[in-house]
């Protein structure tokens, strides 16, 4: 089954991806992120046609705790965050928990 890429974020963030052909997107203006981002993410997570969800790393702070945990640990679709460097999207924390040491410590 073929899937698509989904993008969630401010209109400025999503426009570029739409230019590359992404059609599953959720525009959430910066001012409404605290209210609307949770719903947009939940909707994207339940969409079977979406294989990868792209978000900006800073936007994760606008999510409620439960949704943030869901999206960070989700494998289908998988979350890829931009702008947060290596280990963003909760990966660093997960590594610390599973391996016991912080492997992504910056030198």
């Amino acid at each position: 089954m073929s899937q698509e890429i989904g993008v969630i974020g401010s209109p400025e963030f999503t426009t570029g991806f739409r230019l590359a052909g992404v059609r599953k997107f959720a525009d959430v203006p910066d001012d409404d992120k605290d209210d609307q981002l949770d719903d947009a993410v939940e909707e994207m997570l339940t969409d079977d046609d979406v294989g990868i969800v792209v978000m900006h790393d800073d936007d994760l702070d606008h999510l409620s705790r439960g949704v943030r945990k869901d999206v960070e640990t989700s494998v289908e679709p998988v979350l890829v965050t931009l702008g947060g460097g290596t280990g963003s999207g909760g990966l660093r924390e997960q590594i610390k928990r599973a391996i016991g040491i912080d492997l992504m410590e910056e030198d």
Binding site: M1, S2, Q3, E4, I5, P11, T15, G16, F17, R18, L19, A20, G21, V22, R23, G51, I52, V54, T73, V75, V78, V80, L82, G83, G85, T86, G89, L91, Q94, I95, R97, A98, I99, L103, M104
Partner: protein
Amino acid sequence: MAKDVKPTRKNLMQIEDRIELSERGHDTLEKKRDGLIMEFMDILDQAQDVREDLDDSYQRAQRAINMARAMEGDVAVRGAAAALKEHPELTTESKNIMGVVVPQIESSKVQKSLDERGYGVLGTSARIDEAADAYEELLENIILAAEVETAMKKMLEEIETTKRRVNALEFKLLPELKDNQEYIEQKLEEQEREEIFRMKKIKAKKEKEEKEAREAEQDAAEAATAD
């Protein structure tokens, strides 16, 4: 708990079997955990490279779209974005790393030529094409990152589960079984000692009775000869 088991030889043998099995399982799980961590380290190196490329291409894409917005205006960029006909598609296959199923994502229609994009060439400028190019490259990197990071997440989950199992065996099940074993062994030894003591008592009592009987017999014989 140690108090819950009956101190019988049968139970002791059963517990010894369970300890042997648990120790074997513990060794195997430890090896699995170490193997998974080694595989994970390889993927981590790969992930760090992919992340660096991803961050670079994101910055390039942002620069390109900001330039396009500045030169052409936001409306023109959005207009072009809304006109796209071809959409990137993903197909997922799976690969098995030490029992962990990780995805392999294949993509199509990500990098497109100018005529495949669908927006009019005359109405738009090269800036928009550059931005679209940059974002297509970014999408390629995102797909790669998604593949690697999903593999990492799945392996981390498996490492965590294996670690929890190893710890449960090492710090909970095995100590409890060993406590039980020690408890039964002590109880059995105690029973054996009691048994020996009891036998000694009986023996002493028997010997005393025999002695008394012998003495009484002797007394009776002596009395008979005196008469």
